[in-house]
Symmetry: C2
């Protein structure tokens, strides 16, 4: 990694933590400049605009999601073990962000604001749905899931559990959210099995 790329990487990590707590909309070039101790013009050279900065933060999150959730799951055996790995990896994912899953907070902020950030969120959520659908379809082909399972419905149910987990955790704060979500996922697997 060259010096320029290293600096950009460092800035993006600070930007990610700020965005996770404050929301992407609060992530201005001015605030970020103060946080990393650089000039605003120096940051503009890296990111051109606030929207590009917001997009870069999400793109960095995606690289990390692929590295920490998708790639390790793909190394598991095809079928249910891979579906389970996707679930467990995903469940651990938001813990590394101070304000919770960066996509989730971004979707809440941007779902009614047309633009490149919203487009990117739609695209990545479609990719995630497709990855889950494919994993379910493979589990069906391997004979782990029943033949009449609809893989797309399974993927939707998986995503629903994710959203339920976030809400339960942030609203109730009673320490039971992970166990409850695992129970619900186990039920989902049970109903999907051949």
């Amino acid at each position: 990694m060259g010096k320029g790329a290293e600096t950009r990487d460092l800035i993006l990590r600070r930007a990610r933590d700020l965005a996770s707590i404050e929301g992407l909309e609060q992530l201005t070039i001015g605030l970020l400049a103060r946080t990393v101790g650089m000039s605003k013009s120096g940051l503009f050279a890296h990111f051109k605009s606030k929207e590009q900065l917001q997009l870069s933060v999400l793109q960095a999150a995606t690289e990390r999601f692929v590295r920490e959730v998708i790639a390790p799951a793909l190394r598991e055996p095809r079928g249910e073990p891979r579906v389970q790995a996707l679930f467990e990896r995903w469940l651990g994912w938001e813990a590394s962000f101070p304000g919770g899953c960066p996509y989730q907070t971004a979707i809440i902020e941007f779902d009614d604001r047309p633009g490149i950030v919203r487009d990117y969120l739609v695209e990545t959520q479609r990719d995630w749905q497709d990855a889950l659908t494919t994993a379910a379809r493979i589990a069906l082909e391997e004979g782990h899931f029943r033949k009449d399972l609809d893989p797309e419905t399974f993927a939707f149910q998986f995503t629903c559990l994710a959203l339920g987990y976030y809400q339960h955790k942030h609203l109730f704060r009673d320490g039971s959210s992970k166990a409850r979500t695992r129970d619900a996922f186990e039920q989902l697997l049970e109903s999907a099995r051949a």
Copy 2:
């Protein structure tokens, strides 16, 4: 309904529509005064503070939720018919709010802000979980759901579908969200049946 109660009711309906689009936090007494064409002091006489106004909007939503979702479902036969009625009534609920389900938007705004609004949201969400848990337990007692079903997990899964529906609808806007959520609910019922 006396004149005072009638005025309060009218103000609350305007407040509800404003809050649904802009969020509860944007619902100031000043903005509401301009919208309904009253003085700020006149509104203060009704609501005392911004927090009390926010709480009143949510309490009015709860009255409506009980009237439109809970009460009609309770008139259905005990067991699966009642669970299905809760689902169908709930699925139609957010359509009457211009910016979507008022609890959902309020939870996103207030889950990290301690105070009477957050406390109220936690309380009403617990009530809703309890209502769903009770409905599932009755379905089990009636022999519609299997004996080893965990009613609390069922209630959690039901709520997860709600959250998934909202996100799917607001993010993808492809008209498929309701059908997809119904499919997922049908799967959930299928796995719960005796």
